[in-house]
């Protein structure tokens, strides 16, 4: 709440600075705007920017590093034996201290050291907040005053303001690149740490996946096996099923909409189908787990088949339903991009509609359709919630769609949700899986976008 107040005060100061800058510029020339280099409002904005921006930058940096610095200071004051704990244990202790400071329930006995540390923690936070408030506002006022002082008749306020805006524009558009770099770095670093513990070959070619590692050294049993082939196979199986549902239905409905449907039918059916695209994936997941999976299981039982209640079939079919509008809108685009001249040429020879569609339009649109299907595949591979809720957790290496399989995304979620220790192979494995996921979807997108672009150029 402290920071919200600060922001509001800062905004108020900026408004004030705007009017002060404006007023000063006007008073300098006795109200004759033509004598100024720029319009008065630019002087106002210039002043306001000097008031707000440095303070905001300070604020962001402060917030970003406050946690780390305060934690470090608290840790330094802890008794020696706690400081020497391994990092993940130390983290747990810190968590408790934080919870204690916030008045939440704590997972262990509260002793004096803990209470002391918690008090220390909250007092540090208070000091930090207060100093941020004071320093931040001083910076704002100082910046505003200096800028207001510097105003003169020849100051190129407009150019400066435009430069600032331009800087904002450039950095905004560069954010996309930083996001990509951020993704690559964050996934890559943890993956490298993972591959230091588990050889790459074992990860990529191993046939068994069982990430449960022993928590204590003396524990018997699972030692953690990280062969990702069953996950890849499971992802592949579910993706294939989804495509078997989505591609024919999506493509045929796009064809019908584009070539057969009357205006009224299209106006009604198209938005309804597009509703499917707007439904959150968690809803599909619930639908799959609650309705579709039991339906397939009962159907299987009545046919004498044993269908797992977390069958790949249920997850795949529901994922296919989710992707239908995606396939159909992409196909719709490419079918409409086929020039009318192609259709005319075919109709002019006496071909029927379906002959024209099957033998002229689809072959002509094929590259675009393939590109669209690749994009759909990449989406199916990366889809998470449906499989988390409706597919299994155990890594079976099977091609039988009636059995439960698990996928890359399911494993990422199960490995990372819940208690984490950031050094165990188990958590790091999630990042290695994410690296694979990111690489594959990126490659698919690049290929698909390339194909689609080539296709567009062909008819432009």
């Amino acid at each position: 709440m402290q920071s919200t107040t600060l922001i509001i005060v800062l905004l108020g100061l900026m408004t004030l600075a705007y009017y002060m800058g404006r007023k000063r510029s006007l008073s300098l020339v006795n109200g004759r705007v033509r004598d100024l280099h720029s319009l008065p409002s630019y002087y106002g904005i210039h002043t306001a920017l000097w008031c707000g921006v440095p303070a905001l930058i300070l604020f962001v940096f402060w917030i970003s590093f406050e946690g780390a610095v305060v934690t470090g200071m608290v840790v330094d004051n802890l008794p020696q034996e706690i400081q020497e704990l391994p990092p993940e244990r130390l983290n747990l202790v810190m968590n408790d201290i934080r919870n204690l400071a916030q008045g939440d329930i704590v997972s262990r006995e509260v002793d004096e050291t803990m209470q002391g540390a918690a008090d220390h923690y909250s007092s540090l936070l208070r000091i930090s907040d207060m100093s941020l408030f004071v320093i931040g506002l001083s910076v704002a006022i100082l910046g505003g005053l200096l800028a207001q002082r510097s105003i003169n008749r020849h100051q190129r306020a407009r150019n400066r303001v435009e430069k600032a805006i331009n800087f904002f524009l450039v950095s905004s558009s560069s954010l996309a690149i930083f996001t990509t770099i951020g993704i690559v770095l964050s996934v890559l670093f943890e993956s490298i740490r993972f591959f230091q513990q588990i050889p790459v070959t074992e990860f990529i070619f191993g046939l068994e996946w069982s990430p449960q590692t022993a928590i204590r050294a003396d524990q018997v049993g699972s030692s953690g096996v990280f062969g990702a082939i069953p996950l890849f196979a499971g992802t592949f199986l579910i993706t294939i099923i989804a495509m078997f549902v989505a591609v024919p239905i999506g493509l045929m409905s796009a064809i019908y909409m584009a070539e057969y449907a009357g205006k009224h039918f299209r106006a009604l059916a198209k938005p309804v189908l597009e509703v499917l695209a707007g439904i959150p994936t968690v809803v599909y997941g619930f639908f799959a787990a609650l309705t579709v999976a039991p339906f397939f299981r009962d159907l299987g039982t009545s046919l004498g088949l044993s269908v797992s209640s977390e069958s790949a079939l249920a997850a795949g079919v529901v994922m296919g339903i989710m992707i239908i509008p995606f396939v159909s809108s992409l196909s719709d685009d490419v079918i409409n991009a086929v020039p009318q001249a192609m259709r005319d040429g075919s109709y002019g020879l006496g071909a029927t509609r379906s002959e024209t569609i099957r033998q002229v339009i689809i072959p002509a649109a094929l590259p675009g359709i393939v590109g669209g299907v690749l994009l759909a595949v990449s989406r199916a591979i990366g889809e998470t919630m449906i499989v988390v809720m409706a597919a299994g957790l155990s890594a079976n290496l099977t091609a039988n769609p009636l059995e439960a399989v698990t996928t890359v995304t399911v494993q990422i979620v199960t490995l990372l949700v819940g208690d984490q220790e950031f050094d165990s192979a188990k958590t790091l494995a999630a990042f290695a899986l994410a690296l694979v996921l990111f690489t594959i979807t990126l490659a698919l997108n690049m290929i698909a976008l390339h194909i689609v672009r080539k296709y567009r150029e062909q008819y432009e």
């Binding site: 999506g250 059916a269 439904i279 239908i324 029927t352 990366g382």
Partner: protein
């Protein structure tokens, strides 16, 4: 020659006629397949909605039981003190139990008593406490109070419990059935509109759980997301569309944006986990981090939509403004941006709708914690609607199924209104040049 061709033409016409039936049958079949595909799609939509609504509409009602409470001073304030501290610590659970025992005196067996107590919700004791604390004069009186029924009773009343199942597999046993029937005979059971669902946070008890916490969490998350992604997205679009020189750097940016639009959402979650939480040390489970992650995720959508909106503003507008001596920046801010704004807003709303329904990246940054309190700001730990749905969907109680479906209905209502708003905006401000 001419004759020859005439014959050839006649032969052709004969063959064309011969093939016609088959070809028209094919045509019909193809058309039917197409229509079938669309109908199948429509069936899926309606099936999904029907299944959700059928499962969820009952959650908007809640079963209440009327019990006759004797606010015994012995139990509440034995020494006659009525200050709030004492009142709040009295044994109201015992009071509820005693009331139930009095209503069914025939129950004596300890095991049976335990079953009897489970007729009403654990929330009943809090209700009694609040009544007493508000009006201490109640102590010593006998009152008829409507209290929340337990979720199993609620399910039975709503007909979600299959009575053909053998008793041992049933959540409601035969003796409970008998009690409930006797209560019903005395008009002591009633269904009312479920206000708790809209006014409470999460709870382990289905009858006490609500979506308010999640709705607030979603609101704060979306606000953060909007505050970041809208200005940044519009700025990026303006730069790329209006100012960017055609060079390698802008090419890279464009390829990047297109690829980011198709990166699986869960990967953004990992980015948030690694950067915001592990590197910057921001707290887990808070809307601030959720909003940041979702902002990065929706940026490509907003940028692409905003660029399309800018493209649709004809160059003549720019030329006119530049022609009267406006600087490029003035041209953009005074003329181009206002004209492109409806399109940009439409894109932003669609991006926000996407963010509102997103679950996977939020799981990665720890927004799956069980949080009872209703968050008061973007720095408080909170859940969001889709994550709440995910959590409830995982809960074994039958009563959570209907609450999950009801929460989905609320979420879909938000999404549909956002999309309608976008459609309305587009319709209202659509301009043809």
């Amino acid at each position: 020659m001419n004759n020859n061709l005439q014959q050839q033409h006649d032969r052709t016409m004969v063959r064309v006629q011969q093939g016609l039936d088959r070809r028209y049958r094919q045509e019909k079949r193809f058309q039917r397949i197409g229509l079938g595909a669309i109908i199948l799609g429509l069936v899926f939509v309606s099936f999904l909605f029907i299944s959700i609504i059928a499962n969820g509409y009952t959650a908007f009602q809640q079963t209440y039981v009327k019990i006759d409470v004797n606010f015994d001073p012995e139990m509440i304030a034995p020494i006659g003190e009525t200050d709030q501290e004492v009142l709040s610590k009295a044994n109201y659970g015992g009071l509820v139990k005693k009331t139930l025992r009095d209503m069914f005196p025939e129950v004596t067996n300890r095991r049976e008593k335990k079953v009897l107590y489970s007729l009403v919700s654990t929330g009943a004791s809090f209700q009694l406490r609040d009544m007493v604390m508000q009006d201490p004069a109640l102590i010593g009186t006998q009152q008829s109070v409507w209290v929340l029924a337990d979720d199993d009773v609620d399910m039975l009343i709503k007909g979600h419990i299959d009575l053909n199942v053998p008793e041992s597999d049933r959540r409601i046993k035969n003796n409970q059935m008998a009690w409930i029937q006797s209560l019903q005979a005395e008009d002591r059971i009633e269904k009312r509109f479920n206000t708790i669902f809209f006014s409470a946070g999460d709870s382990r008890e289905p009858e006490l759980s609500g979506i308010k916490g999640a709705v607030h969490g979603s609101f704060f998350t979306l606000m953060i997301c909007l505050l970041i992604s809208f200005p940044v997205g519009v700025a990026a679009a303006v730069y790329l569309e209006e100012f960017a020189p055609k060079n390698r750097w802008t090419d890279i940016i464009e390829v990047n944006i297109n690829n980011l639009a198709a990166v699986p959402s869960i990967v953004f979650g990992l980015l948030g986990l690694a950067v915001f939480i592990n590197f910057f040390g921001l707290p887990r489970s808070v809307p601030l981090v959720g909003g940041l992650v979702l902002a990065l995720m929706t940026l490509p959508t907003i940028i692409i939509a905003s660029r399309a909106a800018l493209k649709s503003v004809p160059p003549s507008i720019r030329e006119a403004a530049l022609g009267v001596g406006a600087s490029p920046m003035q041209t953009i801010t005074h003329h181009v941006l206002p004209l492109a704004m409806p399109g940009m807003l439409t894109g932003t709303i669609i991006g926000m709708a996407q963010a509102l329904g997103e679950t996977a990246p939020l799981l990665m940054i720890g927004m799956v914690a069980f949080i009872v309190d209703i968050p008061g700001g973007p720095f408080d730990p909170s859940a969001v609607l889709p994550v709440q749905i995910y959590l409830w969907a995982d809960s074994p109680e039958r009563a959570f199924v209907e609450r999950t479906s009801a929460a989905i209905m609320v979420l879909l209502a938000f999404l549909i209104s956002m999309n309608l708003l976008a459609v309305w905006l587009r319709k209202k401000f659509e301009r043809r040049w």
